[in-house]
């Protein structure tokens, strides 16, 4: 059988052993309902609360300010619709960056249909938000600003602390949210210190299970819940907690070692970039100071999907723009001012701690043969 070279870790990651074992244990042995009054409930609740502590610790916030969700999409929807409803009387302007993930972008689109004044803050060619343009969008009617920490397609890192402080200074009543799904466990995140009132993270990007995520909601942020139906999580997110997935999430985060892994990924990144730049017709779309976990490239003259499937035949798995928007042209790269042909030929390579140089070598030989056989000049 052909070897697998999985380089699509920003789409999802392999569940680590500790997390998988924890989930199995929670499913088969410690299966009580965390809300039950009896011991079985208490034992399950302990695991949920332990995971909450771990995730809170990883963000340097209090455990009481963390709620568990079904993932990034729910987290982002909760923030957009919850803040919009809770702050409706104060104003109607919602600002998001032009490069947000669809779960923010399309929620904002829906809010626009519902009558909110949704504005899009542009980014410059390096993928970073244009601070001056954002400043001009801030009004006293602004209730929410949402800017992602790391872009899912390019790995561009936004200066969140700076943006958060600017928003609070210009609009003290507004909430600031950051979608940190791609940044989580890959760089230090300190929402409280930065002044981010809300932060979304997801489990399956950090070797946890799909269907699980968390949302940080600061003390001062009061948002209307998305769901109704029980007392769980202080009514902020009712419904029986998915204790197996939550406990697995905790186990995965407990195992994450940001400093060590980032160093390792940085080495892989440097190696990959040096190899890629030797290839004819390959250009790198990710900014140089991007998160090392993501490299977005364009292969001149070959459509994204074509090269993706060609690489697949080598056992190399990458992604054409965000996996959530299959077949659509990337608005993220377009917003960075890339030409259509470069956008159409872009692919995303994304790493995890399980990757090695072998995977990169496989990618490079796949690309080489693709360029030889598929490229049309």
């Amino acid at each position: 059988m052909m070897e697998t070279h999985y380089l699509d870790n920003s789409a999802t990651t392999a569940v680590c052993k500790a997390a998988a074992e924890k989930a199995l244990y929670m499913m088969t042995e410690n299966y009580g309902n965390p809300s039950s009054l009896h011991k079985m409930g208490i034992r399950a609740e302990e695991e949920v609360e332990n995971a909450r502590e771990i995730i809170a610790g990883s963000l340097s916030v209090d455990a009481k300010d963390i709620i568990f969700t079904s993932g990034g999409t729910e987290g982002n929807n909760t923030v957009l619709f919850g803040a919009a409803q809770a702050l409706r009387r104060r104003g109607d302007r919602i600002i998001i960056s032009a490069v947000e993930h669809p779960s923010v972008y399309e929620s904002a689109g829906r809010l626009k249909e519902l009558g909110y004044d949704v504005q899009y803050a542009p980014v410059s060619t390096d993928g970073k938000i244009d601070i001056e343009a954002l400043k001009n969008l801030l009004t006293d009617k602004t209730i929410l600003v949402s800017v992602m920490t790391v872009n899912n397609e390019t790995g561009a890192i936004q200066p969140i602390e700076r943006i958060a402080k600017l928003v609070h200074k210009c609009c003290p009543e507004a909430l600031f949210h950051t979608d940190a799904v791609q940044a989580y466990c890959k760089m230090p995140l300190k929402p409280k210190k930065w002044g981010a009132d809300l932060m979304t993270v997801s489990a399956h990007k950090v070797h946890g299970a799909k269907g699980s995520g968390a949302l940080y909601i600061s003390d001062k942020a009061r948002i209307t819940p998305l769901l109704y139906g029980g007392e769980q999580q202080h009514k902020r997110r009712p419904g029986t907690e998915s204790s197996p997935l939550i406990a697995a999430f905790g186990a995965a985060v407990a195992e994450a070692d940001i400093t060590k892994t980032t160093e390792y990924i940085r080495e892989l990144n440097t190696y990959a970039v040096s190899k890629l730049s030797e290839l004819d017709g390959v250009s790198i779309n990710s900014p140089t100071d991007a998160l090392p976990y993501i490299i977005n490239i364009s292969v001149e003259g070959i459509r994204s999907e074509t090269i993706l499937h060609h690489l697949e035949s080598f056992g190399v798995y990458v992604s054409s723009s965000s996996a959530c928007a299959k077949g659509k042209r990337s608005y993220v790269l377009a917003a960075m001012g890339l030409t259509d042909s470069r956008v159409d030929s872009s692919i995303r390579i994304s790493f995890s701690k399980y990757n090695t140089r072998d995977d990169i070598d496989a990618l490079i030989s796949g690309l080489e043969s693709g360029i030889r056989s598929l490229q049309r000049r």
Partner: protein, 390 residues
């Protein structure tokens, strides 16, 4: 650039010959609170504590967060360490203050020169640093009356320090300098606040919690552990004594007049807490009672309760409104846990109409007739102890 944390001490600097003891306790508490964050050199001079992280990757945000929870500290700040040399001060000021000044529009510079050997006088030093900062951040304006950022340059014995703003600490006195006291903790909003307030006055705490399984659940106890854990952020580790009160309460139900259940229960709690205080060499009891809040907290009821206590009872909430108490509990982070809905033993067998003006003589008589002493001894013997720590 080397960054440290400077701490200004509270009212303890007013102490006379005891001052050294107070300082030693404070430093011990700070060290304990910073455990797990790396190695530090901690020293005290000129009423200032210097916290010097020995490794460059120490998380100073976390250090500051924790310092903000230690009693005995009035203000604290991060500071950049410079040589006592004007060129070094100027070049570091430009680098260090940039982050703080980037989004500000006005600032001022203050200087304090406690080392008078330093050649520049304070106003000259301020003027030079101010000039340098204006050069680095040309968008800034000087505003000496109401600046957004105040940059302070201090020339002290060990070196020069640049700070951009100070943070208020908890105030109060170092935990342990006032001795050890025993808090009666139920799981409601009030008792954790009372514990916090007395720890702020320098008391180390242990705690007594009463439970009545199966009328109360394990969750009620876990809730109390969570509350104490939160209090221990400020008060240090707390030994929690859990006393099983089921038999005492059942016997009271069977043998005593219903309207006296509450007051009798409060008296039993005081007696047991006094015994535990004696055994643990604790010098006082602490309760979250607030005058008139419920039937057992009228002046008359408190007199009856007080008569059963063998130690002084501190009631720091006695003159506070519920909303004031709630505000503190929110601030110290116990509110959310306090409102979790579990039965505690005070709500087991509550009378429909408790006596609001009980008379001690009759209460004592009812107590004698119920013959509770043996059961109280049994409860004390079955007490379990657990150390709660943050």
């Amino acid at each position: 650039m080397k960054e440290i944390v400077l701490i200004k001490l509270g009212e303890m600097v007013l102490k006379g010959l005891n001052r050294r003891t107070f300082e030693d306790v404070l430093i011990k508490n700070i060290k304990y609170r910073l455990r797990g964050l790396g190695k530090f050199e901690i020293k005290i001079a000129q009423s200032t504590v210097y916290i010097n992280p020995l490794s460059d990757d120490t998380d100073l945000d976390e250090v500051c967060e924790r310092i903000g929870e230690v009693f005995g500290i009035v203000t604290y700040s991060r500071a950049c360490v410079c040589d006592k040399d004007i060129d070094d001060i100027l070049s570091k000021a430009a680098l260090y203050c940039k982050d703080y000044l980037e989004d500000a529009s006005t600032f001022k510079v203050e200087s304090k020169r406690s080392d008078k050997r330093f050649p520049l006088k304070s106003p000259e030093l301020s003027a030079q640093v101010g000039g340098k900062l204006l050069e680095t951040c040309p968008h800034l304006k000087v505003d000496v009356k109401d600046p957004e950022v105040t940059v302070t340059v201090e020339v002290r014995d060990f070196g020069a320090y640049i700070r951009c703003g100070t943070i208020r600490g908890q105030g109060g006195m170092p935990v342990g300098t006032s001795g050890l006291a025993t808090v009666l903790i139920s799981g409601g909003i009030d008792s954790p606040v009372a514990a916090y307030m007395m720890a702020k006055r320098g008391l180390k705490l242990n705690a007594v919690h009463f439970e009545s399984p199966p009328y109360t659940s394990e969750r009620a106890r876990i809730k109390v552990e969570k509350l104490l854990k939160q209090v221990s952020r400020f008060a240090g580790s707390i030994e929690m004594h859990t006393v099983p009160l089921t038999k005492v309460q059942e016997t009271m139900r069977d043998r005593c007049p219903e309207e006296l259940f509450t007051i009798l229960l409060r008296r039993v709690m005081m007696k047991i807490a006094t015994r535990i205080a004696e055994e643990t060499k604790s010098g006082a009891l602490i309760t979250g009672e607030s005058l008139g809040q419920v039937a057992s907290q009228t002046m008359y009821a408190l007199n009856c309760t007080n008569a059963a206590a063998g130690k002084i009872v501190f009631r720091p909430l006695i003159g506070m409104d519920k909303q004031e108490i709630i505000n503190i509990s929110r601030r110290i982070g116990t509110f959310e846990t306090s409102i979790e809905p579990y039965e505690d033993c005070c709500t087991v067998f509550t009378p429909k109409h408790p006596r609001t003006k009980p008379i001690l003589h009759f209460v004592e008589q009812a107590e004698r007739e119920a013959e509770l002493d043996e059961l109280i001894e049994e409860a004390i013997a079955n007490t379990t102890v657990k150390t709660i720590d943050f």
